[in-house]
Amino acid sequence: MKQKPHLRWVEFAIESLIRVIGFSTVGFVILIFLFLLREGLPAFAQIDLGNLFGTRWYPTFGLFGTLPLILGSVLITISAIVIALPLGVATAMFIREVAPNWAREILKPMIEVLAGIPSVVLGFFGMTLVAPIVRETFGAPTGLVAFTGALILAYMSLPTIISVAEDALDAVPKMYRDAGLAMGATQWQTIWRVVVPAARSGIVTAVMLGMGRAIGETMAVMMVTGNAARMPLGLDALFRPVRTMTATVAAEMGEVAHGSVHYHVLFAIGIILFVITFFINLAAASTMFRKRRRGGLR
């Protein structure tokens, strides 16, 4: 095809524009991380590590122990995944392997709607409806506890887990199922012994992404976990209030004096959170990468 010279120039301009936009995403991530480092690193110099990783968080009185906050986030994230994993994988199995076509057509959009519910709505729901039920059912002194947070977070990470796990099941070739059934296995045996193991790495990715979603969630968690910065140790920790890293930053960043020690510590919490989510996402990406190399199979 013959092109006029000025058209080639336009083509070039548009292509470079798109390239700049594409690379700017990476640039922004790097800039955000540099900003976090610039604002957060002074905290490690200003207060000694014994205080920073201590067990008492009273930021207005110079006690910056972030350990209860880190453990609080870890506790509710892991509990949320323990609740969400069986539910999510079972739902994905049902949608992909068992449900008739018409049911699948209804279920999939419904799950997308689930993902679109604003977290503040879920937080309000948790505070007024789930919390009293948790208090009465489990005999906890209050319903605003880690377990309520874990329930809400499980609910919020379900859409991610279901849709990624469902894609993983979908990627298993049809001949695996045919072979399973031909060997005389029942449908359940085929799903559980053949299809799910074949999609294992995709399911691990689903869990990792769900975890990334859960640990970064702020609003709903702040509304239902009670925000008491106590060490979540002991058997009853799940039924006691906790304070997470995200809720701490959200609740305190608004009032903190710019440039104070407290301000830098909140950014240091941001760094810790960033590093944790980075490694979770890295783990998710690496299992996804391995899966692609092995053609969806192990």
Binding site: L7, W57, P132, A228, A257, H258
Partner: protein
């Protein structure tokens, strides 16, 4: 390709022309009865003061249509930070400015001015089914530091106590810590128990108090709804147990009351000046209706606990 570009250009030009037309068409009031607001006053700060400030702002704007006042909450610390950064004209606060905040303001070239605009009683609230009617200040302090952990220890049922507090950016939190948890002793280093639930809003506290028979909370009297039970407070074990009200704050018998502030920086503009004068004068008659105590009959002995 070239044609597409031309179409895009045409659409862009069309949109621009339409916008330009719309712009010169819209806001040209021709000598109507109500002139457009000439002055605007920005107010931000304490969630305790916000309802009162809104009542004042609405009434003042009705009397002076040329003035536009916008009021937002967020906590005393938030409002003071905004004042220091020069983004608002008035900061509402339910606590005094801290020395470091004053220093920060002076570093930015502002001198803060303090105006006490009303008084507030802090009510201690429990679930309506709780049989406890009154507590001494010492008991409230022991409950919030975690020395008393069961309602039985203060004459109630055998239930664990769930402590509710506002977040640490709240002026109410600071006042309650200094005057109730520490009993007004500046040398005390008592802190809220680590088991205290920090709620991000007044609504968070009332929602939990309403539905949890174990809970105890505190909040400005203006925020206490009828479905919570307000406790009578005594200064010491012999003293009378007094319920908070405008009257008991006025005559100084209710021990947990504090002044509410508006802060301005530098020399306030004439409009802000006029507004503050009105607030301190005529505006005081709106105070009682919002659940606070007006200035004119302010308690003489100060607000602190004994």
């Amino acid at each position: 390709m070239a044609r597409m570009l031309r179409i895009v250009a045409a659409i862009g030009l069309g949109a621009w022309v339409a916008l330009a037309l719309a712009r010169c068409g819209a806001p040209q009031p021709v000598g109507g009865t109500e002139p457009p607001p000439a002055v605007s006053i920005q107010q931000k700060g304490s969630d305790t003061v916000v309802n009162l400030a809104l009542a004042w702002a609405e009434e003042y704007m009705r009397l002076h249509p040329e003035v536009r006042i916008s009021v937002t909450g967020g906590g005393s610390g938030t409002g003071i930070a905004a004042l220091i950064n020069g983004t608002v004209d008035i900061a509402n606060a339910s606590r005094e400015m801290k020395p470091e905040e004053i220093a920060e303001a002076q570093k930015n070239g502002y001198t803060p001015h303090e105006h006490i605009v009303a008084w507030d009683a802090i009510a201690v609230v429990v679930h309506p089914s709780n049989p406890v009617d009154g507590l001494t200040l010492q008991q409230v302090s022991d409950i919030y530091t975690g020395k008393i952990t069961n309602w039985r220890q203060v004459g109630g049922e055998d239930r664990p106590i769930v402590l509710l507090s506002r977040e640490s950016n709240s002026g109410t939190y600071v006042y309650f810590l200094e005057h109730v948890v520490r009993l007004g002793d500046p040398k005390s280093d008592a802190l809220f128990s680590p088991d205290t639930l920090l709620m991000p809003s007044s609504e968070g506290i009332s929602a939990e108090v309403r539905q949890n028979p174990n809970a105890i909370g505190y909040d400005g009297l203006g925020y206490v709804t009828p479905d919570q039970k307000t406790l009578a407070i005594a200064r010491d074990a012999n003293g009378p147990f007094v319920l908070p009200s405008a009257e008991t704050v006025n005559n100084g018998t209710y021990p947990i009351a504090r002044p509410l502030y508006m802060y301005t920086v530098g020399e306030p503009s004439p409009h802000v000046r006029a507004y503050l004068d009105w607030v301190l004068g005529d505006g005081q008659r709106l105070v009682a209706g919002v659940g606070f105590v007006p200035l004119k009959q302010s308690p003489t002995g100060g607000s602190a606990a004994p």
